[in-house]
């Protein structure tokens, strides 16, 4: 079991994650859903002991990940956003290196290798130099290194990133196979991508948990989640002003999250995830601060936009 309690991470003075708390049972497949900057990667890197938290506790398989990261790493296989491969190595040599780092002896590796090559369908390229492989194959090599030591917990950060449609389907099938024998944590910013694969979703936005449950359960909560879009034209749009505006909006009653703004039509467009209609409060706050209010929208969109509404929709235009 993975147990996370009041976990936070700051980069400098900026809060990237938290405080968040959640539990993941053995054998479960859980998806971390959120837009860029939502805190997914930070959360997964902390669970994989690649990063230390600023506050809170993390227990993986009953072992404290902050006090005993060395022991937790033995239980985990991690595929980061960019597969951690060495371009100058041959696929099999690289997998042997990864296996030995995880404490496997050569006979164990020799026994496990055919199985992993079969699961990841790397047999055809096992003797190739990694730098000559396509992105899809490199991603597979990344998965292979994560499972070579048969870890109890498998953490995959955006495993379908940069893959073409065929490769995405293949990766989805691969994850489906891996579910049978591992507790799997996957992150993505595409709802459909992980809703098909995961038993449960944890929706992150602005470093906080916005929703937990299956896709159906999240949709049922939908009437409670609304989205307000506000375009503000401040005297200048430097980073400090953007932050000041975001902070002012985040303080309003009923605002769950404020997504990173982007420039549109001469103003800064903020998307707020709210639990009620806060247009009046937003307009008063903006005008009261001396900024121009140039657009204010309120929406209660349909089920298919569950995720966008939950996380604030800052990348909805991408």
């Amino acid at each position: 079991m993975i147990r996370v309690q009041d976990l936070s991470k700051f980069y400098g003075g900026k809060r990237a994650l938290g405080p968040v708390s959640f539990e993941i049972a053995d054998g479960e497949t859980v998806g971390f859903l959120g837009l860029n900057g939502a805190g997914k990667t930070t959360a997964l890197r902390i669970l994989a002991c690649d990063l230390r938290p600023s506050a809170g506790t993390v227990s993986v398989g009953g072992v404290d990940a902050v006090a005993e990261p060395h022991d937790v790493r033995k239980l985990i296989g991690f595929l980061p956003e960019n597969p951690p491969v060495y371009g100058d190595m041959h696929v099999v040599d690289y997998l042997r290196f990864a296996a030995e780092l995880r404490g496997m002896r050569r006979p164990e590796f020799a026994k496990r290798l055919p199985e992993v090559l079969d699961i990841t369908q790397l047999g055809d390229v096992q003797d190739d130099v990694i730098s000559t492989l396509s992105h899809g194959y490199r991603q597979r090599v990344g998965v292979a290194q994560a499972i070579i030591h048969n870890p109890k917990f498998l953490i995959l950060d955006e495993p379908t990133r940069g893959l073409d449609p065929v490769q995405i389907v293949e990766m989805r099938n691969l994850i489906h196979d891996l579910k049978q024998s591992h507790t799997v944590l996957i992150s993505s910013h595409i709802l459909t991508e992980i809703s098909q694969t995961c038993d449960r979703l944890i929706v992150l936005g602005g470093g906080k948990i916005l929703g937990v449950g299956s896709e159906t359960e999240l949709a049922a909560q939908e009437t409670e989640i609304r989205q307000v879009t506000v375009a503000v034209r401040p005297p200048n749009s430097d980073a400090d002003t953007r932050k000041t505006i975001a902070d002012a909006l985040a303080k309003l009653d009923g605002v769950a999250a404020v997504a990173e703004p982007y420039e549109q039509g001469g103003g800064l467009l903020y998307t707020l995830s709210t639990s009620k209609d806060v247009r009046a409060e937003v307009s008063r706050a903006v005008v009261g601060a001396g900024w121009d209010l140039i657009k204010l929208d309120y929406s209660r969109s349909e089920l298919e936009n569950t995720f966008i509404r939950l996380v604030g929709g800052n990348d909805a235009s991408n």
Binding site: Y11, G12, A48, C49, D50, L51, R52, H70, D71, R73, K74, I76, F78, P80, E81, N82, P83, P84, V85, Y86, G87, D88, M89, F97, A98, E100, L101, R102, G103, Q145
Partner: protein
């Protein structure tokens, strides 16, 4: 220790596979050979001991440049290509990562230095020097090169940009190598402190290059190596908190 050995083998393999190690070796050996030929062999008659001194002056310099050049990629490149995550998320301690990488670069540096052995052999054929003088000189080259490696490895741990690491590493080595000329302009006790910390003039040029083996010189270099490797380990550790 097992992890150190695994990382050592991978890194040494990377040097042997990639053109970088061989290009650095070829360029430095070429420069060493040309300068040795022109300064030691090609300008009239010299005492064998003087020729050997000149050889170790050049080879010591080559060892320092090679040390910095070989070490810069060790961590910075891994950060740039994201492969460091594999090491960071494996049950491997930071000290094992640094030790494995340092030892691999040191062995490659020793291979590079071994390829210069034909030059003292040439001096032996035409003059009179002892193997002890040669051995002490090479020990000095290895120690000063290993110190440069440790400093370069620390610089490499600081940043993901290899160019910045190269500039930072070179600057640190250049400063440590020129503390003695600076110390000469100062009064004690600062003078004694700075000349005591000098990496090149006092210990290498003053003793090793002349075939003089002094235990405290060896200890000094080992201390410098330990200090910068420790800094590299602590830097890796600190980066996890950032």
């Amino acid at each position: 220790m097992r992890a150190t050995s695994i990382i050592f083998r991978r890194e040494l393999g990377a040097y042997l596979r990639s053109p970088l190690g061989w290009v650095v070796t070829a360029v430095l050996l070429l420069v060493d050979g040309i300068l040795f030929q022109s300064s030691a062999l090609g300008s009239g008659e010299h005492l064998s001991a003087d020729v050997l001194r000149t050889f170790f002056l050049l080879t010591g310099f080559v060892s320092i440049v090679g040390g910095v050049a070989l070490s810069i990629r060790l961590i910075a490149e891994e950060r740039q290509t994201h492969s460091l995550v594999l090491l960071n998320t494996s049950p491997v301690r930071d000290v094992e990562i640094i030790a494995g990488k340092f030892l691999s670069a040191l062995v490659f540096l020793c291979i590079m230095l071994a390829l210069t052995l034909y030059m003292p052999k040439l001096i032996m054929v035409h003059g009179k020097i002892t193997w002890t003088q040669v051995a002490v000189g090479y020990l000095g080259c290895i120690l000063v090169g290993a110190a440069a490696l440790a400093i370069g490895l620390f610089a490499s741990a600081l940043t993901r940009q290899q160019l910045i690491a190269a500039v930072a590493g070179s600057a640190m080595v250049a400063i440590l190598c020129n503390l003695f000329p600076l110390a000469k302009r100062l009064d004690p006790p600062l003078k004694d402190v700075l000349s005591g910390l000098d990496l090149w003039w006092v210990r290498y040029m003053g003793n090793f290059m002349n075939g003089v083996l002094n235990l405290k010189d060896v200890i000094y270099y080992l201390a410098v190596i330990y200090f910068f490797l420790l800094l590299a380990v602590k830097t890796l550790e600190a980066k996890r908190w950032q």
